[in-house]
Amino acid sequence: MERQIINKKKRVFSVEPNKIPPSEVFTRKYTSHLVPALKKLNMNKNSSQVNQLTVKHEVDMALALSAQEFAWSRFLLQKLSSSNNPTTATSSSSNGIRIQERSGKEGGGDEDGEIEEKLRELQKLLPGGEEMNVEEMLSEIGTYIKCLELQTIALKSMVQDTT
């Protein structure tokens, strides 16, 4: 029934890396991936508690599957399929600490070096960012941000609806 509800009318062709996917299409895809996955999880683990990491895993998987026209989604898929424990949970928080330290240190220092540092930080945030060169990475970051935004909206609505 979900499939019927989720009616994919449009194909998304990302013709330019920086172009934002139509939010509607993305969110439809996203929910269509995530909801069945969660359902399956729920059914498989009836008695035991649903692990937080597996949910995160499904969340990331849904993100990657819904945005397959972008390079970062490929890397994300690779990461997810190779390991069962997603590392994004820990890395984001540690990066947060690190960036604050760094900006404190480099007060008046070498500007280019600073920028390089920050670009590298950004690369770490993006899945697969370290394998790309900087220009590519910047294009991909734009789309990644948009998809993250849509993802948060989707998740929020799901959470709020179930309460």
């Binding site: 029934m1 979900e2 509800i5 990302s14 013709v15 330019e16 890396p17 920086n18 934002i20 939010s23 509607e24 969110t27 439809r28 929910t31 909801v35 969660l38 359902k39 729920n42 508690q49 649903v50 692990n51 937080q52 597996t54 949910v55 995160k56 969340v59 994004t88 949970a89 984001s92 990066n95 947060g96 960036i99 920050k118 670009l119 930080e121 950004l122 945030l125 993006l126 900087v134 220009e135 910047l138 294009s139 970051i141 734009g142 990644y144 941000i145 948009k146 993250l148 935004e149 948060t152 909206i153 998740l155 929020k156 609505s157 799901m158 959470v159 709020q160 609806d161 179930t162 309460t163």
Partner: protein, 300 residues
């Protein structure tokens, strides 16, 4: 006209500023075409009869001046434009700034099938560059003949163009000037988004066992509606809650004050539809909620 084009092309070749520079700066997708073109120039100097158009992908062809695209006959022009549009739809090539036009005559029609990939049309005079939709790197006369600095400049312009795009996407970037500040903002924004996703997925994982999944079905319906029409979403919610078969005894309800605080820190404020929807749903839930158990945020 034919002769002049030939002459110019030959001159280019003689100057030998084209070939080494090209292959330095050129992206990989243009390189093949260029190689073919080079072979053409070497072989077919006297026999060229029809026009072919290519676009180059590099930043330092013009050492002295800018190129001008000659006004070609209607068909070719249209074809060039059509091909350029096709080109633009190829993703990355859009980001590449410097498109110099080269016109190369060739009599090999079969290669017109290659046009989907890339086109090079070269024509140069000493005057204008025809404005297209992309950024040119102008190498002015006597300036930066060094291929490194030209490449460097092209690269920097590309970067700044992308930074501008990012500025539009990331909220709050407009106030900060300079690359470093913007990058900081972007990094913080991405981090906060990722943390939000993490947090929400945690919530979901807690909610998961108690869910009946038809709730989720309904949510996807509502959710789609929220992107199309806001009042519709609200009315649907009302209908569904009235006719609900939710397991009320297992429902956990969130403390909306806490949610509000989260909402204010998020980009929900930026996205008009989502914030509007949340406001509607909030009023709805306030009316319908029986418990006010706030168990969630102890999880954090």
């Amino acid at each position: 006209m034919d002769l002049s084009v030939l002459e110019r092309v030959k001159w280019l070749q003689q100057q030998q500023m084209v070939s080494p520079d090209f292959f330095e700066i050129l992206g990989s997708d243009g390189r093949e075409e260029l190689k073919r073109v080079e072979s053409y120039l070497g072989n077919n100097n006297d026999e060229l009869q029809s026009f072919r158009h290519y676009e180059t992908i590099d930043g330092c062809i013009s050492r002295t001046s800018s190129f001008q695209i000659e006004q070609v006959k209607n068909n070719e022009e249209n074809r060039v434009i059509a091909l350029q549009h096709k080109r633009k739809t190829e993703g990355k090539t859009e980001k590449i700034e410097n498109k110099k036009k080269k016109k190369i005559k060739t009599e090999d029609e079969t290669e017109s099938s290659m046009k989907g990939k890339s086109n090079m049309s070269n024509s140069e005079t000493s005057s204008e560059i025809q404005k297209r939709d992309y950024i040119h790197v102008r190498a002015r006369r006597g300036e930066a003949t060094d291929r490194h600095s030209l490449a460097e400049r092209a690269r920097r312009e590309k970067l700044s163009k992308k930074m501008k795009c990012l500025q539009d996407i990331v909220p709050g970037c407009n106030k900060v000037t300079g690359k470093a500040g913007m990058l900081d903002e972007i990094i913080n924004y991405v981090q906060s988004l990722q943390q939000q996703v993490e947090f929400l997925s945690m919530k979901l994982s807690v909610l998961n066992p108690e869910l009946e999944y038809h709730i989720n079905e309904l949510s996807t319906k509502q959710f789609q509606a929220c992107f199309t029409d806001l009042p519709e979403a609200v009315s649907k919610q009302l209908m569904m809650v009235d006719a609900s078969s939710f397991p009320l005894q297992h429902q956990e309800s969130l403390d909306y004050s806490v949610i509000n605080s989260i909402q204010t820190t998020t980009l929900g404020s930026k996205d008009q539809t989502s914030s509007g929807w949340e406001i509607h749903s909030q009023s709805l839930y306030n009316n319908l909620r029986t418990d006010s158990v706030s168990s969630f945020f102890s999880l954090e």
